[in-house]
């Protein structure tokens, strides 16, 4: 019984999160914004939680479920790389290490500065 009602609550909360996503997408389309609809939906949900318009318990189970399986939801998009496999030959191959170097520059610099700023504050 408990398991059943738990599942029911999670499904209801997932529907609510889908709703926020759809509203976000509509806003993005309506105003032709550059920001993705999912990020707009996230901001909207955050505002609703902050202003207590929506109690935390109404999304906690659904959100935890989605975040626990976040990597799964990326897979169908990342598999799209298969359409561009011919891109990875010759000189273009160099772009892979260049992406990594550029990404490491960001990680090291922001990680180090962020850590230093926090430590200095304390």
């Amino acid at each position: 019984m408990n398991l059943k009602s738990n599942l029911f609550i999670t499904i209801l909360q997932l529907a609510l999160l889908f709703g926020f996503y759809l509203i976000g997408v509509s806003i993005q389309k309506l105003f032709g914004l550059l920001i993705p609809g999912s990020v707009i939906g996230m901001v909207l949900l955050l505002v609703c939680l902050y202003t207590n318009l929506l109690p935390e318990q109404w999304v906690s189970k659904g959100a935890t479920f989605l975040l626990n399986h976040l990597p799964l939801f990326f897979i169908p998009v990342t598999v799209g790389v298969m359409n561009h496999l011919d891109f990875f030959n010759g000189k273009s191959l160099w772009l892979i290490p260049i992406v990594l170097v550029s990404t490491w520059i960001i990680m090291i610099t922001t990680g180090f500065i962020g850590q230093t700023l926090v430590n200095r504050k304390e």
Partner: protein, 227 residues
Amino acid sequence: MFLLQAMFWLIFTIAIYFIFTLLYRLLPYPFLIPILTCTVLLVILLTSFDVSYDTYFSGGKVIDAFLGPAIVALAYPLYKQRKLLNKYKNELLSTVLLSSMLGILSGYWLTLLFGFGEVIQFSFVPKNVTTPVAMEVSRMIGGEPALAVIFVMIAGIGGAVTGPWILKLFKITNFLGVGIALGGASHAIGTAKALEYGQEEAAVSSIGMSLCALCVSVLAPILINWL
């Protein structure tokens, strides 16, 4: 037949995700993250059996439909950590700005240095932000969205795989340093990795990724025009 194939790839993707997640729990090496192992296995299988991406995606889209709501769900850890984020808002905003500038400028100059043409260069610039934003930004500044997606994936998966080593090597252990490094450099895939570190890291990472997306969409056209 088509529907059956779509169903098969849908179930197969979920099944290998759970198998590789289990494997990753037993052997937590960064290069065994499920998003990488599952993608590689699927690309190998699909290409060797001559299955098109469209056929795969007719099943995969069911999983893809959860991606948007999952990004929305990131508001929950942000809300849970609101006191912490509020306390460190200046540190967050300054590192977000730094992260966006570094991504754009290093991307621009590195591709220039290696003599890649403008189309590749402008597709390369927004690689450290989330896919939909990167696609739009690349289109705006004169790049090719399909190429931008490839670079976004390399930055995401590459960052999530190598991130733990890089962070250890440079002794970055603090929640804000780890969170901003992963979210700012490797967007949502980095944020999925940050969830493994903890709730505080994940909150910093998701706010970092969202603000960097905003920041890059504003800064990239301005900086590129100015360079």
